[in-house]
């Protein structure tokens, strides 16, 4: 882990600070980071809500096809992101199922933000649900039943009892989801169209700089992504001890 990271660091500043700074401050790079953050900012809340709802449905409710839903939550982990991207391409492309209807109504999904957000949501789908499900099982539903007998509605029970009880699992899941969203490459690469300054995310930008033989630039962007990843890890280790204390 540390070896390759150190090399990346070394290479970035090999040609001096200025080259790295120039690569980072170019409008296309800044746009790429902005895009990555926008996508993350949409995908993480969406998956947090989905993950909690999904966990509650799987653990607390009885319904037909529960096994299928449970297995489906894990699908994005098993499926290669490139395949995810390709299937979105097939759905939303010009000859796809929804493609024609959408373009008739002037909605651009493919090669634009919507498809990139959908692709990112899909690949980072399981993390919150997978953290929340075992915690929900562990706490059981007696506290929730007690809250009901004390007069709490479903929403009040969720807000005041369930959510605080699973909060660390949710936070942990959110952190993992964030890391996954920031680093997503495969699925987004297929659906984005690689338009510089428009649909290029930070990871795509690394690849583009690398292909253009701008190694210093590629390394500099990688460094920022690596630092973000480290921050995420630090956030996780800061949270962990608290979790044990409760």
């Amino acid at each position: 882990m540390i070896g390759p990271l150190a090399v990346v660091f070394y290479r970035t500043f090999e040609n001096g600070f200025d080259a790295a700074w120039a690569a980072l401050s170019s409008p296309d790079t800044i746009h790429a980071f902005k895009l990555t953050l926008i996508i993350t900012a949409i995908a993480v809340p969406a998956n947090t809500v989905f993950g909690i709802a999904c966990g509650l449905a799987i653990v607390r409710r009885k319904f037909r096809g529960k096994g299928i839903v449970n297995a489906f939550v894990d699908l994005p982990l098993a499926l290669s992101p490139v395949v995810v991207g390709l299937s979105l391409y097939l759905l939303y492309g010009r000859d796809g199922w929804f493609g024609a209807w959408l373009s008739d109504h002037g909605i651009q999904v493919l090669f634009a933000l919507p498809s990139m957000v959908i692709a990112t949501i899909f690949v980072s789908l399981p993390f919150v649900a997978r953290e929340v499900i075992p915690t929900l099982r562990e706490i059981g539903d007696e506290q929730e039943q007690a809250a009901r007998t004390l007069g709490a509605s479903s929403w009040q029970t969720f807000r005041r009892i369930t959510l605080p009880a699973i909060r660390w699992a949710v936070i942990y899941g959110v952190i993992l989801t964030t890391a996954r969203c920031l680093g997503e490459f495969g699925a987004v690469a297929v659906v984005s169209g690689h338009i510089q300054g428009e649909t290029e995310t930070a990871t795509l930008r690394v690849e583009e700089r690398y292909q253009s033989l701008d190694l210093a630039g590629a390394y500099a962007i990688s460094i920022v992504l690596a630092v973000l990843a480290v921050l995420v890890l630090v956030a996780m280790t800061v949270i962990r001890p608290k979790e044990e204390a409760v």
Binding site: E142, Q143, Q145, A146, A147, R148, T149, L150, G151, A152, S153, Q156, R160, I161, P164, A165, V246
Partner: protein
């Protein structure tokens, strides 16, 4: 009547948990639902609370049909065997929960909670978390939490089941005294006949999803209507078709009419009470309960031949399979 249950049935998959159960609970009473595990007593309590929906029948609470009503609208307080403490809240916030939900003014909440803390003797622990309390303290907190919203009925599901013997007997006493102070109609579930008899003023004995008999503790002990009630409430000896309590088995040192010969296998001294384990001439094993004085008077010894004269023998017309315990 505070609670009236009419013809309630409930199945879990293929298992009939309750079969056409009817029960009336008097206002202000302290009633026990007593039975072995799987007898349906907890299910009945949960049906009254609205935590389970009956397949058939109805539940009436203070004259209102509560059958389809959600638990939060029934005005019942429920105490769980494993406390169901809100782990992320302090003792104070746990007890205040029902009042906070009802958006009562802060001052009122504070006064009511400190009143209840006093009642359950947890005043010094108000700012602790449930994890920092003992089992008995947690259960008292759960009780205060249920009482905070002034429920019309208080339901307790094996409230002392998870506690050790000493704490359990303390809490029994305490619950009895609390009931005398607060006087809220209370129903509690237990599998412990001693607990039921010590705490409750009425007991409903349940077996296999059916209420076998309802009555006062003494009434049930002295006039059991079925073999099940006879054998579940208090110790028994079964001799063929007749049943006799160990203390109703008189020991004589001389032969007498209607007295059977038996040999003393073992003598167990339990202080005031002495248990005499016997084998009758026909091979039937049984035991008799005598006082220490009576044991000394008869000069009982192991391997000695004595004569048994049963008092208050009982024969039940309906037979049932005895409990394997």
């Amino acid at each position: 009547m505070s609670i009236v249950v009419k013809g309630v049935s409930k199945r879990f998959n293929d298992f009939p948990a309750l079969e056409n159960v009817s029960l009336a609970v008097e206002t202000g009473s302290l009633t026990a639902l007593l039975g072995p595990s799987g007898s349906g007593k907890s299910t009945l309590l949960r049906v009254i609370a609205g935590l389970e929906q009956p397949d058939e029948g109805e539940v009436v609470i203070f004259g209102d049909d509560a059958t389809g009503v959600a638990p939060q609208k029934r005005g019942v307080g429920f105490v769980f065997q494993h406390y169901a403490a809100f782990k992320h809240m302090t003792v104070f916030d746990n007890i205040a929960f029902g009042l906070t939900i009802r958006k009562r003014p802060k001052d009122e909440i504070k006064n009511r909670v400190s009143e209840l803390l006093e009642l359950v003797q947890l005043k010094p622990f108000a700012q602790r978390y449930p994890a920092q309390l003992s089992g008995g303290q947690r259960q008292r907190m759960a009780l205060a939490r249920a009482l905070a919203v002034e429920p019309r009925v208080l339901l307790l599901d094996e409230p002392f089941g998870a506690l050790d013997a000493r704490v359990r007997s303390e809490l029994r006493e305490w619950l009895r005294r609390l009931h005398e102070e607060v006087h809220v109609t209370t129903v509690f579930v237990t599998h412990d006949q001693e607990e039921a008899m010590q705490v409750a003023d009425r007991i409903a004995v349940m077996n296999k999803g059916v209420i076998e008999q309802v009555g006062g503790p003494r009434d049930l002990y002295e006039n059991p209507e079925s073999e099940f009630v006879m054998s579940f409430i208090g110790p028994v000896n079964r001799v063929g078709d007749t049943w006799v309590r160990p203390h109703d088995l008189e020991l004589l040192s001389y032969p007498s009419d209607g007295a059977d010969e038996a040999m003393i296998e073992r003598i167990v001294h339990l202080g005031f009470e002495v248990r005499i384990e016997l084998t009758r001439a026909d091979g039937e094993k049984m035991w008799a309960q005598v006082t220490r004085d009576r044991c000394e008077e008869l000069e009982l010894e192991e391997n000695q031949i004595v004569y048994l004269r049963p008092q208050h023998e009982r024969v039940f017309s309906e037979t049932f399979e005895p409990l394997t315990q």
